[in-house]
Symmetry: C2
Subunit: 465 residues, 2 copies
């Protein structure tokens, strides 16, 4: 009889706990959708500040603005973590054309890739050789490449439902295309923008010359998908056409900048740290609303929504707005380095860096045991149309924190529109929907709440209770 009573008590408490989580999550969602601040914050970041390339005035304005906003939330601590960042500047607007015969030119939307060197001051004009990827260079050979501009034209695979996978399938052309083309005597590189749509926006992004001496570097730029189609067709009609482009971008000395950090100190387990974050820097062509203003304001909102709900975390919860994800990852590395030096016990980190679109789920980089624990929470998210709990990557900035027993996670929004805007002039505020942004913040807050309440990774108990 006593056993039955215990079982009944246990069942009742389980039902109660479940109910309580449901209610807590409902409150989080209701607050996010009716009293949200994320959209207002993003409006300021995007429209009052704008694109926030590392080392730019705008990046520093964003540091000051977000710190001031975090200060206003009544957190336990807010601070700036110094970090040196690269400073690359685009210079005057780039210019390019196809010259089908002398005097017959078609202008082409183009932008320098981040990290690229400039063309000669008068621009660079040369024949073009189109390839479908780095692997083609060897096949074509140095004789046919020398003195030419290599045109990487492998498009994103439209049949992949996860557009990040399609991006991963061709971004090597952008990142390593110049370094490889140099080996075959190319004088410049242009790459088809990483965009699933045919349109007129060139998409920038990072590239690297590796250890190549500065004197050997060749300029690299992206052209719009429409321009890539035009150039490809033009080359089929006449392989001897010329391509001209001019850019005066420049890599300057590193400059000081900051990660912006706010903290609610844990009630029972202050030494166990949970991080939620995005990256504060962005490319310079648009205003960086999706990449990654959205992730920053959602992460700030997590702490605000938890405070609003009256929930006091057992563990220490930090929002970290990382600097320099786009062209260096210095902020992410710095944060992880300092965590190791200080021997801080990070148990969980969640990044939002895939756009402010309707959230579809989370990916988790963790042990099987932790993943199984997390999967038990999935039904709590289904009323909010969060269906994907999958094993996979997390986010670039939190990657350096990775260690045994820790859970890393990434918000997974709907990805169909992301690469329409990614790194381009049209990554702007009006393309972020308020509700979709808020739903992402609510999903993140709910996950953080559950992780904090029930523990995860190396941290499964609550001290002092």
């Amino acid at each position: 009889m006593r056993n039955i009573t215990l079982v009944l008590l246990f069942l009742a408490s389980t039902v109660w706990a479940q109910k309580s989580d449901e209610l807590q999550i409902q409150e989080i969602y209701n607050a996010a959708l009716t009293k949200g601040k994320a959209h207002d914050w993003l409006n300021y970041l995007s429209n009052q500040i704008g694109g926030r390339l590392s080392g730019s005035v705008q990046a520093e304005q964003a540091v000051l603005y977000t710190k001031a906003q975090l200060d206003s939330l009544g957190l336990d601590k807010v601070w700036l973590q110094p970090v040196m960042v690269p400073k690359w500047v685009r210079g005057t607007p780039e210019f390019a054309y196809i010259e089908s015969k002398p005097g017959y030119t078609s202008n082409i939307p183009i932008c320098a890739l981040g990290g690229s060197v400039a063309t000669p001051p008068g621009g660079l004009k040369a024949n073009v050789i189109e390839v479908q990827g780095i692997q083609d260079l060897e096949k074509i050979g140095r004789d046919k490449i020398r003195g030419k501009i290599v045109f990487y034209n492998r498009p994103m695979d439209a049949t992949l439902l996860n557009t990040f996978q399609a991006y991963g399938g061709c971004v090597d052309q952008r990142h390593g295309g110049a370094l490889e083309a140099v080996k075959f005597g190319a004088v410049g590189v242009i790459v088809r923008s990483m965009n699933l749509r045919l349109d007129d926006y060139p998409h920038t992004g990072s590239m690297s010359y590796g250890e190549l001496p500065v004197s050997d570097r060749i300029p690299a730029a992206a052209i719009s998908t429409n321009a890539a189609e035009l150039l490809s067709t033009t080359l089929k009609l006449d392989p001897n056409i010329m391509f001209y482009f001019k850019q005066n971008c420049k890599q300057l000395e590193d400059v000081p900048s900051f990660n912006v950090i706010g903290e609610i100190t844990g009630r029972t387990n202050p030494d166990e740290i949970m991080v939620v974050g995005g990256h504060l820097d962005s490319w310079d062509l648009g205003d960086g609303s999706h990449d990654d203003g959205a992730g920053c304001v959602q992460s700030m909102e997590v702490l605000r929504l938890l405070k609003l709900s009256g929930y006091k975390p057992n563990r220490t919860l930090r929002v970290v707005l990382f600097m320099n994800e786009e062209n260096g990852l210095r902020g992410g590395r710095k944060y992880a380095e300092e965590a190791r030096v200080k021997n801080e016990g990070h148990v969980f980190a969640l990044e939002s860096d895939a756009g402010g679109f309707t959230p579809r789920g989370f990916s988790f980089d963790c042990s099987e045991a932790d993943f199984e624990k997390i999967l038990q929470w999935k039904p709590l998210f289904e009323p909010y149309l969060i269906h994907q709990f999958i094993k996979g990557g997390s986010g670039a900035d939190i990657g350096p924190l990775k260690k045994e027993g820790m859970v890393l996670s990434g918000l997974r929004p709907d990805s169909q529109r992301y690469f329409d805007h990614h790194h381009a002039q049209n990554d702007t505020f009006e393309h972020v929907n308020k509700r979709e942004l808020e739903l992402g913040a609510a999903a993140m807050t709910s996950l953080v709440y559950l992780i904090d309440k029930y523990g995860i990774g190396t941290s499964n108990g609550i001290k002092g209770k």
Copy 2:
């Protein structure tokens, strides 16, 4: 021993069938995403034709265009089904302002509701009484309403994840608001637009005077959500302010129009008919891209993708582009009526009328047994990020077909942005993403393929096999 062999054979055939479905669906998706026509068709409907209000020249152009496109697909039959439709015309652009005191006016974005009468030629100016819904009228009473404009200002509930539910929670104000306000002596009605966002677009939509004599009808219009906020605040400061609006819309005599129908006749069970459709008419303020150009071109694409895949349906598959969903449902009623007269055996109908956004799933109006059968197919859709198979409504146009043993279904796209555009000037082509539209068409095609292959409802066998 023999039993075991049979079991193994059965298992093997099940595995094979499963594999084959996976491949078939993969082919459908690949074709939709790389060889799709839906986006081109929508481009024409939206940008060459535009808003397609029943009875308008544009609606007739859309009939001719879509019939010609269906003719080009090599279907077994394409025809026009005549139907008489109401013809309501908006007239010259509406105009409105708040007059806080004589001579001090603020212009307000406004549009007549579909079906409304005009104001007097010089417009209508009166005091305003704000209510949160029809139920408030009784409480406030005739004395305080008589001679005034009733302002229905109950907003959509932002906390509902399914925005259609939020719409359902306040659309009675738009549809029945005028009819009810007349009973209390109101001289006009304005309604807050059914829009979750604060912006400057008024959203039209159907309204009805019921059996009210024409002479008793009062004009009804929608104002933008920003204007509703402004008016409400202004009224709080001074309940005696005046509101002026002017519209010269008109209900004309019914005119002839058509449903557009195309058919692939069933190979083995031609008498069992499956319908896939959307509505060809739209409101007139935008170009009707989401509502419901998207559903029309997706439905046309279902037949095209199936033909492209080489799959020959066992049952008869019809695409039906219904006329007059928005303000009469005459097309849907006509199609069902003729089906009954001809004793046609409809077994399944699927409608897409919730926007061209990323598909999240389907709703099904069917028996438990059929739903359980359908649920078995869910895993086939999960690689395509289709997670919602739920019991619920289907679509307005296919509703009249409903009968025992039949399965009705509706495509459920992500609904967060839908009411930003619904019935407003910004329901336009550039707000439909090509991939999202194509994913909807692929999901619909895959469902039709499974329904055809395995049967559903009263039709579970395949004759002549």
